[in-house]
Amino acid sequence: MKEFKYTITDPEGIHARPAGLFVKAAAACGCKVTIEKDGKEVDAKRILGVMSLGVKQGETITLKTDGDGEDAAMDTLQKFLQENL
């Protein structure tokens, strides 16, 4: 399992637009992908779950990839977070 902590810099937080793009990117990964905030962990392939975390600017999330291709998935998604959020 791979883990990556990231603090959101986008002033609007994880709002619908990037959440949608992120979920799409996560769905394309073969392995399990989750996001955790303050002990609440959700499936990153489900947009309602991701949005329901209500992540705001300055808050830290933990991205986890687990299973086949977890390295490549982590690479892609980590980059996505840094570039878009």
Binding site: A16, R17, G20, I47, L48, M51, G54, K56
Partner: protein, 540 residues
Amino acid sequence: MELQGKSVSQGIAIGRLVVYQKKDNVVKRERVEDTANEIKRFAAAREKAIEQLKGLYEKALKEVGEEGAMLFESHQLMVEDLDFIEGAENIINQEQVNAEYAVARTGDTLAEIFANMEGNEYMQARAADIKDVSNRIVSVLQGNDDSGLNASEPMILLADDLAPSETVQLDKSLVLSFVTRGGSSNSHTAILARTMNIPSLITVDFPEDVDGKMGIVDGFEGKLLVDPDEALIESYKKRQEKEAEKQRMLQELKGKETVTIDGKSIHLYANIGGVKDVADVLENDAEGVGLFRSEFLYLETDDFPTEEQQFKAYQTVAAGLAGKKVIIRTLDIGADKQVDYLNLGNEENPALGYRAIRICLDQVDIFKTQLRAILRASFYGTISIMFPMIISIDEVKKIKKILAEVKEELDEAGVPYKDVEIGIMVETPAAVLLSEELAKEVDFFSIGTNDLTQYTLAIDRQNAKLESINDPHHPAVLKAIQMTIENAHKGGAWCGICGELGADTTLTETFLRMGIDELSVSPSKILAVRDAVRKLDLSK
């Protein structure tokens, strides 16, 4: 009738009011035996919904661009969301009920989760998206998927609230404005209105019977005027035209440099009188604040404003301008601006009286409090300080000494501040005549043309009888300005104008030829002046 609401998009709209009637999907709970068939119907409805959403995406892409269209992509993801699908399927299977009911209830439950996200207004507004998505699927399941509104003439659209899918299906060329009873500034209707650049109001509690009447939406004041008379319509039409002109200039000139055809550029700053003006400064694309009148801090209170109150105001403006220059003018009270707690008393001749820097150099405590507040705020942006009503070198030397004392106190207390440029207002003939010497003492001049005109021409600017001869284009005034600019440059200072004359576009060319470095005008004049500068060619 005048109805008050909250504006979420500025502008003026005049037209027929149309109240949108939402078609509610009535969903009945029905027991079913063949749950597998309901699951199949649900899957087919999702597929159809996705198809519709793809169509809406394409339509929105053309009409409002990618930003607005993305919404329908996130709706597609919601339709495909496993929480949503599993939720509805579980209800169908466990309760042996119809798909319509299962979808509606799942939609409500999920929407509730978002609606309850305290402190996250944006996510709360997303509850409407989820409802919209579940309504769409229910509509497909029920076999009715036509939209609710047919219009043939431009209209002001009134509704309880509008779902994104409803707004995108509208013929946008016919919508002059959106007015809703509910909504929030983050709702899609509000975002759409801003994208379309049309006015929009929320929280307007309108009665149903306004349907079909004439109306005006004032997106500046957040008002809906029903059945306005001709005179009111006329005055709003004029305002509308002015706005359109401003918008045209904004589109053309926002983000552009203030530079002449032959490449001479000047700084174009804004004059402001309080913290609330910052939005105007940014909206009109000023390059900084050339005159921040600090008087409001003194005029709005019953006692001296504390250092903390002042610091907060200066800091807010400096931070709001995000590094752009902010020139704060120290207390300029007296003459026509009086405050009780200063006990200035009545003067025979207040324009020539105990005012501005004269008070500050006499009551040094007041002055020091202000300077300390300004220096502390300087840490949060790019601040310059400017002193009004200067008539002598000696005054400037005294000011600099006091400023040095304040800095020393701050150093001792370990309070951070940045280096600030200091400048003076040139608004007395004395300052003009001494401008060469004064320029060596300061970093910049800002010419206050209102007072300079008054003192140069010996015309009381408050005296209505003298109005006809009170000519700010008087050759003596223009000569004084020219002399000031030339001497500023000789002494190594830059020179600007912050009086009303700075915004007089018939003089823009004259000022540029004189070598002016900066013009500071009210925010609403910024673009007009930039326009004038950009049309000039000084090589001709």
